[in-house]
């Protein structure tokens, strides 16, 4: 569950940052990328992305192990 939440947070913050980058490229007078708010958002994004990656890495070996076990089974053992 928490893995999914972090994955969605990564998507949400990524899109927010892309929107800000696009606005800034059109009109940088608003200074969206220069303020402390963007730095805060960047830190949050790093933390969320890091946790998402950690959760993913932790979960992958289990799956691989399961697939390996399934592959090693003889054909008649596979239901």
């Amino acid at each position: 569950m928490i893995k999914k939440i972090f994955a969605h947070l990564t998507i949400v913050i990524t899109v927010i940052m892309v929107v800000l980058l696009v606005i800034d490229s059109v009109n940088d007078a608003m200074g969206f990328l220069r303020g402390a708010e963007f730095k805060t958002l960047l830190i949050i994004y790093c933390v969320v992305a890091l946790l998402t990656a950690v959760f993913y890495i932790v979960s992958v070996p289990r799956k691989r192990g399961r697939y390996v076990r399934v592959a090693k089974k003889k054909p008649h053992e596979i239901d």
């Binding site: 949400v12 929107v19 059109v26 608003m30 969206f32």
Partner: protein, 373 residues
């Protein structure tokens, strides 16, 4: 476990024939699991989009909507020196001896003041000012210190207003911050600020409060000195200069007597010549509502307010068009301020232009007003 061959059983065929999703009967029916997954994908997509919207609103709130008072210490810059003010000697007639009918004794008329303060540009623009009376019409204002003429121009699907301004003293050219406070997020309507400051004519400024960087010098006080894009400086001798970020040096401009400073841009003229597309330090070149200030010579300025984004009334001007307007007027320096929905001009407590979508609040104005006292 259900075999795939079951799909071709008579029961399955009957189900397939009566399917309401319009799919071919030979196609396997989408299971409840995949339909549920599709619903979940749609649901989570909607939730994600909502969170993105909320995130952007929260970002905007903290970035520029919630007022935050400036924390840096404001530095008062040297005021206008007395040598910059013209002291005009008035030839005073010899005191007349007037005989009186009562007692025959001679009385001496009061001696006139030996010097009359003409202000910085009172003599140069003497024909622009009155002797003390105020003459005001729907689009003009003339007093002993100020001369303002508003001209409406309609050409090439654009409507813009030119305020031609003469002032006797630099003190007549003022700036005001929303709620009289330096900081980010403090905003007021241009016309309200103009009314509160008794402005004759006012124009929306650089909206410095939407950012926490960029030069801010107001009425001889330095509030912020970090650079952002092109800069306009008004010196205490009444001259105006524009700087690109590479040419700008805060110490030099302070030594030169900076009195006002704005950060928005781009600058619209170089060496007194108009600029062409591709040479502006801005990406916002298409036709837009615009607010800009121009400089002819010390004491003579102009504000230009361009309406735009209103089909059938005014589409606005490009930066190139605006640059040419200033050049045709005879300006030697011109500078673009915050435009779009922010662009508003007020004359005698009323909005002169028709702002896009009614205009929006801004954080500062440039205005012309009589000196109090």
């Amino acid at each position: 476990m259900k075999n795939n061959n079951d799909l071709f059983s008579p029961e399955s065929k009957h189900e397939s024939a009566s399917r309401s999703d319009g799919a071919h009967p030979s196609q396997p029916k989408r299971s409840h699991g995949s339909r549920g997954r599709l619903k979940r994908i749609i649901l989570f997509t909607i939730i994600d989009l909502l969170l993105i919207g909320i995130g952007l609103i929260v970002f905007a709130l903290f970035h520029h909507a919630i007022p935050k008072q400036g924390t840096t210490e404001a530095i008062e810059l040297p005021a206008v020196t007395p040598t910059q003010t013209e002291q005009v000697a008035v030839v005073t007639p010899e005191p007349e001896i007037q005989p009186t009918q009562t007692d025959g004794e001679a009385t001496q008329t009061p001696s006139p003041t030996p010097f009359v303060d003409q202000g910085m540009w009172g003599e140069k623009f003497a024909d622009k000012f009155t002797d003390g009376e105020v003459i005001s019409t729907d689009n003009t204002y003339q007093s002993e210190d100020i001369n303002v003429t508003i001209t409406k121009v309609e050409e090439n699907s654009a409507t813009y207003y030119i305020a031609d301004i003469y002032v006797r003293d630099i003190d007549n050219f003022k700036t005001m911050m929303a709620q009289d406070t330096f900081g980010t997020g403090f905003t007021e309507k241009t016309v309200d600020m103009a009314t509160n400051s008794n402005a004759i004519v006012a124009i929306s400024g650089d909206n410095y409060g939407a950012r926490n960087f960029g030069i801010v010098i107001r009425n001889g006080v330095l509030y912020r000195d970090n650079i952002f894009e092109d800069v306009l400086i008004m010196n205490n001798d009444g001259s105006m200069e524009t700087f690109s970020p590479d040419d700008f040096d805060i110490n030099t401009i302070l030594q030169n007597g900076a009195w006002q400073g704005w950060s928005f841009g781009p600058l619209l003229m170089t060496d007194g010549q108009p600029m062409v597309k591709g040479t502006f330090n801005s990406n916002v070149n298409p036709r837009n509502p615009r607010s800009a200030v121009g400089y002819f010579e010390p004491g003579h300025y102009c504000f230009i307010l361009v309406d735009g984004r209103q089909s059938g009334y005014s589409d606005g001007l490009t930066l190139e068009d605006l640059s040419k307007v200033f050049y045709d007027l005879g300006c030697t320096v011109a500078y673009n301020l915050d435009g779009g929905q922010t662009a508003v001009m007020a004359f005698m407590d009323a909005e002169t232009n028709i702002p896009y979508e009614g205009g929006r609040k801004t954080s500062d104005i440039l205005y012309i007003a009589e000196n109090e006292g």
